[in-house]
């Protein structure tokens, strides 16, 4: 789960990580009140879960109330790379002497937390690594020992930050590590880590990703989920307890088991189609869950055909068939379905489907045949979203150099 900047800063503050004074605001009026309270000059910052908001015009300096109101008005509701701004953060303007970079990351390769510090901040870590690989110091921390003062000293000396701030930066890293462990974070990034004209050290930005599996022990953070920023179908699926990821194609997908569903998406792509979603109906799915899942898939208006790919282990194919029959009974379904049932009770499932004789439902024997048929029946995919970043197998600048 990703936090907005101001939520991340509130989390930092709870762990003693220094931050500039600021207030969140959801309306123009709230932003003006917040600016008056904080005291001018202030910075009005769009709160969205995507980088590059400064360049997009989402961060503006206001020297007085009139400017604060004008900027708040311009920023709230604006679109930043596909994310609408619903929330602002009004922060006391800082005077900048140095910009550093600090992060604590969950290094799954090394299976240890990794703390990073750089004397070059205010740009992406990949960019730092490209400009000057020696400018980033990295250190793994034994999770059973925890962050020690020497870790902070080593990072500070090896990154080449200014001598006079070595101690406060070390302290900030120590507190960031405490927050990382205490809040079950997968990533904490401070970029820039600011040294002010008065040589004070503060976190000017906060990027925080928390472990969704640990939210049960952080009920206060669990409430911070940014439902406004969530895709409507993804939200609907989450509320129904389904694992769903929206994609940009037109072939709706339902399968059981994360690996099999990923494989199904790939096979659809190989057959020349474009999947509309990832949906794992999970192990042991009952008819009602299947029917629920169909509703979520069809809530996406781009879907022009649906593929069911089930390999029954604990999941029983007859339950899946009954779920589909239920869905056809309760929903107005106009798109073709291709169904492949294999494994536990598959013959029973296929017989149920044959008896129900659902309109435009096609049963195929193998996964590959089913994928081809689904792609054929779903027809042409809508035009590709030009700005959706595709996965690339490019350079890996922030990889651990020891690996």
């Amino acid at each position: 789960m990703d936090l907005l900047e101001y939520q991340g800063k509130q989390l930092f503050a709870r762990h003693g990580v220094p931050i500039p004074e600021g207030r969140p605001a959801a309306t123009i009026e709230e932003a003006v009140i917040a600016a008056d309270e904080v005291g001018y000059p202030v910075v009005i910052k769009a709160q969205v879960l995507i980088g590059g908001r400064g360049k997009a015009g989402g961060i503006k300096l206001a020297n007085d109330r009139e400017e604060a109101e004008r900027h708040a008005k311009a920023i709230i509701g604006m679109d930043i790379h596909g994310f609408t701004v619903h929330q602002l953060y009004v922060e006391k303007a800082s005077d900048i002497a140095e910009e550093y970079y600090a992060a604590v990351v969950f290094d799954r390769g090394a299976k240890q937390p990794m703390v990073m510090l750089s004397r070059m901040g205010g740009m992406e870590v990949e960019e730092i690594a490209e400009k000057d690989p020696t400018a980033i110091a990295r250190l793994h921390v034994d999770p059973l020992v925890g962050f020690q003062a020497f870790h902070g000293r080593r990072l500070a000396f090896e990154s080449g930050i200014a001598e006079d701030v070595i101690r406060p930066v070390g302290t900030m890293l120590e507190r960031l590590y405490e927050a990382f462990v205490g809040e079950d974070a997968m990533l904490l990034e401070v970029n820039p880590l600011l040294v002010t004209g008065d040589r004070e050290v503060v976190a000017l930005d906060a990027k925080v990703t928390l472990d969704g599996n640990a939210l049960y022990r952080h009920p206060e953070t669990a409430e911070l989920r940014n439902t406004g920023a969530e895709d409507p179908q993804e939200r609907m699926a989450r509320e129904r307890g389904l694992t769903y990821v929206k994609l940009d194609g037109n072939v709706g997908i339902l399968g059981n088991g994360a690996g099999l569903v990923m494989s199904t998406l790939d096979v659809v792509a190989q057959a020349g189609g474009r999947p509309a979603n990832f949906l794992d109906a999970g192990g042991g799915s009952k008819a009602e869950e299947i029917s629920n899942a169909v509703e979520v898939i069809l809530a996406n208006p781009k879907v022009t055909g649906v593929l069911f790919n089930i390999f029954g282990g604990i999941t029983r194919c007859d339950e899946v068939a009954n779920g589909l029959i239920t869905a056809f009974g309760s929903l107005d379904i106009s798109v073709p379905f291709v169904v492949r049932l294999d494994g536990t009770n598959d013959e029973e499932g296929r017989r149920l489907l044959a008896d129900a004789d659902l309109p435009n439902v096609h049963v195929e024997k193998t996964m590959l045949e089913a994928a081809s048929r689904a792609v054929e029946l779903a027809g042409e995919a809508p035009p590709e979203d030009a700005d959706r970043p595709g996965p690339s197998a490019g350079a890996d600048p922030d990889a651990d150099p020891e690996q």
């Binding site: 969950f106 799954r108 390769g109 299976k111 240890q112 937390p113 990949e126 034994d142 999770p143 059973l144 462990v181 079950d184 997968m186 472990d211 969704g212 599996n213 640990a214 049960y216 022990r217 694992t243 990821v245 994609l247 399968g255 059981n256 088991g257 994360a258 690996g259 099999l260 569903v261 990923m262 494989s263 998406l265 790939d266 096979v267 792509a269 190989q270 999947p275 990832f278 794992d280 192990g283 390999f311 029954g312 282990g313 999941t315 294999d342 494994g343 193998t366 996964m367 590959l368 959706r388 970043p389 595709g390 996965p391 690339s392 197998a393 490019g394 350079a395 890996d396 922030d398 690996q403």
Partner: protein, 290 residues
């Protein structure tokens, strides 16, 4: 032969009195697994269809001779259950539980690696099946028969799919190991492949990876250096967008890291055949064994 679980397995199930624990534990017993005990605190002295229940894993080891533990308890209690089993001297712990906090697993992993007495498989895995010998976990055993293909996978149903395609071509399995879909798991591909390499019954190894992390890349290097048996691989998630968790907590492309394409390339660069879909994997396996 087989690896990890066999006729010598003496199983204790943590959470045997729970719904899932009793369903799958007894299912494993019906398959022929020697289920010697269950553990549920404060329910010691009871039994589940004749299987004695103890308050602690230590008691299950001392009194029933358990050497393998299956953990089926809810996520908040799972790390504790794994550590308890390790502390009691259990050699192999198989954790099925999905949803354990990643930081808990960092501590568990680090501790277990320091004291090499206990091997952990999982969490968030379907378990281990050695056809004809023992089944520990939730793998539907009736699809699989004894044979010479060792199968190791981060995913459950995908394993059944590939295993079933192999079965249709007449191949059985020495052992099927689900290593789990979490970011931090107790046993890696390398750990399991090393076992298959030294298992005389295994003649071919099929590994089934997916997006996220760099285990497949490391495994490619390991195979090139240390594995003499043929290996066929499959990678799921070529169409996964970056930044999205695809069902498994560990299945996420972070920026440009952990993509299926990078994994497939790394494996192919080391001479490992990578099938583009489960059918191609089964075909490649048939050819390798022909």
């Amino acid at each position: 032969m087989s690896i990890l679980v066999d006729k010598d397995t003496k199983l204790v199930v943590a959470g045997l009195t729970g719904r899932e624990g009793s369903f799958h534990g007894l299912n494993n017993r019906r398959y022929g697994t020697d289920l010697v005990a269950g553990v549920t605190p404060s329910k010691g002295g009871q039994d589940v269809e004749g299987v004695p229940v103890f308050d602690t894993v230590h008691a299950a080891v001392q009194e029933a001779g358990a050497n393998t533990a299956m953990v089926f308890v809810p996520p908040p209690a799972a790390a504790d259950a794994i550590l308890e089993a390790a502390d009691a001297g259990v050699e192999l712990v198989i954790c099925i539980t999905e949803g354990i906090p990643a930081h808990d697993m960092l501590r568990v992993y680090t501790h277990l690696r320091r004291d090499e007495r206990t091997r952990l498989v999982g969490p968030n895995c379907p378990g281990i099946l050695s056809p004809g010998k023992a089944n520990v976990g939730i793998i539907p055993a009736h699809f699989f028969s004894e044979g010479n293909v060792g199968l190791v996978s981060r995913s459950g149903t995908l394993t059944y799919q590939i295993g079933n395609e192999l079965a249709q071509r007449g191949f059985g399995n020495s052992t099927i190991v689900g290593i789990g879909g979490d970011p931090v798991v107790g046993s890696s591909f390398i750990d399991v492949i090393a076992q298959f390499e030294s298992d005389p019954e295994t003649e071919l190894i099929v590994m089934c990876g997916e997006i996220g992390g760099d285990e497949e890349e490391r495994t490619a290097d390991y195979i090139a250096e240390s594995v003499s048996k043929p290996v066929v691989a499959y990678i799921a998630g070529f169409t996964a967008p970056p930044g999205k968790t695809m069902g498994h907590a560990g299945a996420i492309v972070s920026g440009s890291k952990g993509t299926a394409a990078a994994k497939a390339e790394a494996l192919e660069a080391k001479g490992v055949r990578v099938g583009r879909n489960p059918t191609e994997v089964a075909d490649a396996a048939s050819e390798a064994l022909a």
